[in-house]
């Protein structure tokens, strides 16, 4: 950058920013950089950037929240998605540029808070400054005649918890140090909060798993469908609990406009906290997770898992058990799933299944009209051929790769549904499939986050600090005594403050005057104010608007 630029910018800067140290060398530049970084103005801009930076995170689907929708985005508009991905738009909150803002803000905060803490600590032990010569120049001031002595004035102010020093003919008092203490507490708590969140991410983990009624789960990395560990989590550190899902119940509104809306979900688990402990029954609900020594397991979702028995062309059982189905529509719970029977002979068998929990005919088709399983049926679309499992490509359990498969028999868009117990014979002597029953599955999330309690404490402290720094005002009062002439002056040291101080000042004045006859003078006209001062005393919404009403 040229010198010319430097000077023009420096003159344009406000008092907060220092002129750039032209020709001061590396140290000077560093110092200038640090000052700029830790100034309120920079903090403000960083705050804005921080907020602005999180906006795309709410517009675009995020991998950490919903990877499925990200994949869909890539499918629908690949070029756009590729470009968005280059700017980390699907991973906003873990992107380098978001981290950069975050780190700069963090530095700015730290660089701002620690010097201020030191200054405040010194300030706390400093005495209030001596009275200025002309008290009537202060925003609040009054004079009266009375027999007040310096000692009496000091004692009165001390009683109001002012910090007081006295001179030969003056008293200086100050109060409201809690404002700065609160402010520092707030900013330090913010730092602590960022640390707690970071620690939680490093030492915690999350895992998702789907469990069908009657089946079990034990808390090991291998048992999860999706496991997201922090960098410092080892497989052995997982809490060794296990459970069986004994039962799951969902209840729905049965009639009226909101028919089909879920009312309650409840799963009964039989839990063993450790491999040797005795099983206990736990009712798992939304908002009521299972807690095993700080590792929490949540009920996130549910669905149907119809059970089937597939017999192949040679009469052997090729598949038997529940098949978890995904619901497309929450109001009808019409669900879809896939059976793959790779061991079937002579050809591999695959089935697309549509599950209808409450089936009614609709013209030539069948539909479900309610999410509860009042009349469960399945529609089956059988295929035979090569399931494509040998290629080594990972496959979704919810999708059938029909590239090398051919439909068995005549394909119909709406095959006759099977009731529980019904068997469908497959064409070409390929075997049969029996719909044997209906179970439900639940999806669970297990989360361990050692940072949650520290984060909560930090957040609570931040609120306390915030309230202190927003409500307390730093204020000073001076009294000068010259014979029977008493002058009192006061001011607040708070930017944009002053609200309510006029009333407090009037009250102090009344106390100081004590029994002395009232002879007010000065601009603040304490007489007029002292009446309602007691009513609205220290109220956060006190009549600060009065002056312009008069």
């Amino acid at each position: 950058m040229t010198k010319k630029n430097d000077t023009t910018e420096a003159t344009g800067a406000t008092e907060e920013r220092e002129a750039r140290p032209v020709g001061l060398g590396v140290v000077g530049w560093l110092r200038w950089g640090w000052r700029t970084l830790t100034s309120m103005r920079t903090a403000l801009i960083l705050l804005f950037l921080f907020a602005l930076g999180s906006v795309p995170g709410s517009i675009y689907p995020q991998r950490s929240v919903d990877p499925g929708r990200v994949a869909q985005y890539f499918q629908n508009s690949p070029t756009e998605a590729k470009w968005l991905d280059r700017f980390w738009m699907f991973d906003v909150f873990t992107s380098p540029w978001f981290a950069a803002i975050y780190l700069l803000l963090f530095l700015s905060l730290a660089g701002c808070v620690f010097p201020r803490a030191v200054a405040h600590f010194k300030e706390l032990r400093r005495k209030p400054p001596a009275a200025p010569r002309n008290l009537h120049r202060l925003p609040q001031n009054a004079a009266f005649d009375g027999d007040l002595t310096v000692e009496e004035a000091a004692a009165r102010l001390r009683r109001d918890r002012f910090r007081v020093v006295t001179g030969p003919d003056w008293v200086a008092a100050e109060k409201g140090y809690l404002r700065e203490t609160g402010n520092l507490l707030f900013h330090v708590s913010l730092l602590a909060l960022l640390f707690a969140v970071g620690a939680g991410a490093l030492f915690g983990y999350r895992g998702n798993v789907l469990v069908v009624e009657g089946e079990g789960f034990s808390n090991t990395v291998a048992a999860y469908d999706r496991f997201m560990p922090g960098q410092q989590v080892s497989a052995e550190s997982l809490q060794p609990f296990s459970f069986t899902v004994k039962d799951f119940q969902a209840t729905y509104i049965a009639s009226g406009e909101k028919r089909g809306q879920p009312l309650d979900y409840s799963a009964t688990l039989s839990v063993q906290d450790t491999p040797t402990s005795r099983p206990r029954d736990v009712e798992l609900k939304v908002n009521e997770p299972l807690d095993v020594n700080g590792t929490l397991t949540y009920l996130l979702g549910h669905g149907y898992a119809p059970t089937f028995k597939v017999v192949d062309g040679k009469g052997n059982t090729a598949f038997e058990g529940p098949v978890p189905c995904l619901a497309g529509d929450q109001m009808t719970y019409t669900s879809e799933c896939v059976i793959k029977a790779p061991d079937a002979q002579p050809d591999q068998l695959g089935f697309l299944i549509r599950f209808l929990p409450t089936t009614v005919p609709n013209g030539k088709a069948w539909v479900s009209i309610f999410p509860g399983a009042a009349n469960p049926t399945v529609q089956i679309f059988p295929f035979s051929g090569d399931l494509g499992l040998k290629s080594g490509q990972p496959q979704s359990v919810y999708q059938l790769d029909t590239k090398s498969l051919k439909p068995l028999g005549k394909m119909s868009a709406d095959p006759t549904p099977l009731n529980v117990g019904d068997t469908k014979e497959l064409a070409d002597g390929a075997g049969s499939i029996q719909f044997t029953g209906v179970k439900e599955w639940i999806s669970l999330q297990t989360a361990y986050d050692p940072g949650r309690l520290p984060a909560l404490i930090a957040a609570a402290l931040a609120v306390i600090g915030l309230v202190l720094s927003l409500t307390v005002q730093r204020r000073r009062v001076w009294v000068r005594v010259k014979g029977r002439q008493v002058t009192v002056g006061g001011l607040t040291r708070t930017e944009g403050g002053g609200a309510g101080f006029a009333e407090e000042f009037a009250e102090i004045l009344t106390k100081l005057r004590g029994a002395a006859p009232a002879e007010p003078s000065g601009h603040s006209q304490p007489e007029d104010r002292s009446e309602d001062a007691s009513a609205s005393d220290r109220e956060p919404v006190s009549p600060s608007t009065r002056s312009s009403e008069e």
Binding site: T14, L44, V55, I253, A462, V463, V467
Partner: protein, 325 residues
């Protein structure tokens, strides 16, 4: 589990009470506006100034301050300190308390009809928010001479309620299982209170920007408007902070993490930052005054977007807000 049974009679009564509330707020708004238009203009500067502002068409139900027409003071007679204008103002206060009562009645009857906290969907939330902002105004009014705000607060509340009734109304009924928690009482109540305060501050901020300096106006001085806006935010901000934290605690109970950048979380956070930025701006030289006010309005825009936009445009874990399609 709440009973699926809904007391239809009470639910209908609640809907009717809300309609009555809209009418009462509109009536109060007109009375406040009459007082504003025909009451005495406040002196911002020496009355010798040759121009003054007289509000016209103030009863026309616009949320912006009445359009102002300039008159030459030399050709106009001084405004008579109309006694009936003051009476209109007093009547406005009475009518707004009535509206407040029917608003409260509407919320209570709905809550009793469905036997749960009556802010489980967007309709109920907006109704509660309007109630909160009128409450904030009326409570402030018992302590400060801010009747001039009345027309603007009541019209905002009437518009909000009208919007809720026309576009957001859903039949009274039980909520999704996820909302079935005592946290709704803590988290949403805090958000509603903070929202009410922010609305009052937003109204003051708009008036501040509209108010012309150095002229006679029915509006109070900029300084006064600035103070009201600031006060409301100073009280509202910690409550909002609390609401966000309570939300995080609830998320920890319900979804297994306290913060996951769900769209609702992102926008609460943005709103929070924006109000924090306002507080910083107001304490920073060069930003005080108009710039800070604009920041506060940006923050208010974020709040509104969070309450309305996020529920409609984004899908997320918060999407059980039950917006009618």
């Amino acid at each position: 589990m709440p009973p699926a049974q809904v007391n239809e009679g009470l639910a209908t009564l609640s809907d009717q009470l809300i309609l009555v509330t809209v009418l009462l707020y509109l009536a109060a708004m007109i009375a406040y506006a009459l007082e504003l238009a025909f009451g005495r203009a406040r002196t911002a500067v020496a009355p010798a100034k040759s121009r003054r502002l007289v509000a016209v068409g103030a009863g026309a139900g616009s949320s912006a301050p009445a359009e102002s027409a300039e008159e030459d003071a030399s050709s106009a007679t001084p405004v008579p300190p109309a006694g009936w204008a003051l009476k209109a103002g007093a009547a406005a206060v009475v009518v707004s308390w009535l509206g407040w009562a029917t608003n409260l009645g509407g919320i209570l009857t709905r809550g009793i009809a469905v036997d749960r906290w009556p802010w489980g969907n967007m309709y109920e939330f907006v109704v509660a928010l309007c109630f909160a902002s009128v409450t904030v105004f009326l409570v402030l009014l018992t302590r400060q001479p801010i009747r001039f705000l009345g027309a603007f607060v009541t019209v905002a509340a009437a518009l909000g309620l009208g919007f809720a009734v026309l576009f957001l109304h859903v039949q009274a009924g039980p909520v999704m299982p996820a909302l079935n928690s005592y946290w709704i009482a803590i988290h949403v109540t805090a958000a509603v209170i903070a929202g009410g305060l922010f609305l009052v501050s937003g109204v003051s901020a708009v008036l501040y920007l509209v108010r012309n300096d150095g002229r006679l106006s029915v509006l109070p001085s900029k300084e006064q408007l600035d103070r009201i806006a600031h006060r409301a935010i100073v009280i509202g901000f910690p409550i909002w902070t609390f609401a966000v934290i309570a939300g995080a605690l609830w998320a920890d109970r319900a979804w297994g993490r306290y913060w996951g950048w769900d769209p609702k979380e992102v926008w609460s956070f943005i709103t929070w930052i924006a109000y924090a930025a306002y507080l910083h701006a107001r304490a920073t030289a060069g930003w005080r005054g108009k710039a800070a006010m604009i920041v506060s309005l940006v923050a208010f825009g974020c709040l509104l977007f969070n309450l309305v936009g996020v529920n409609i445009f984004f899908s997320g874990l918060h999407s059980y807000a039950d917006v009618p399609k």
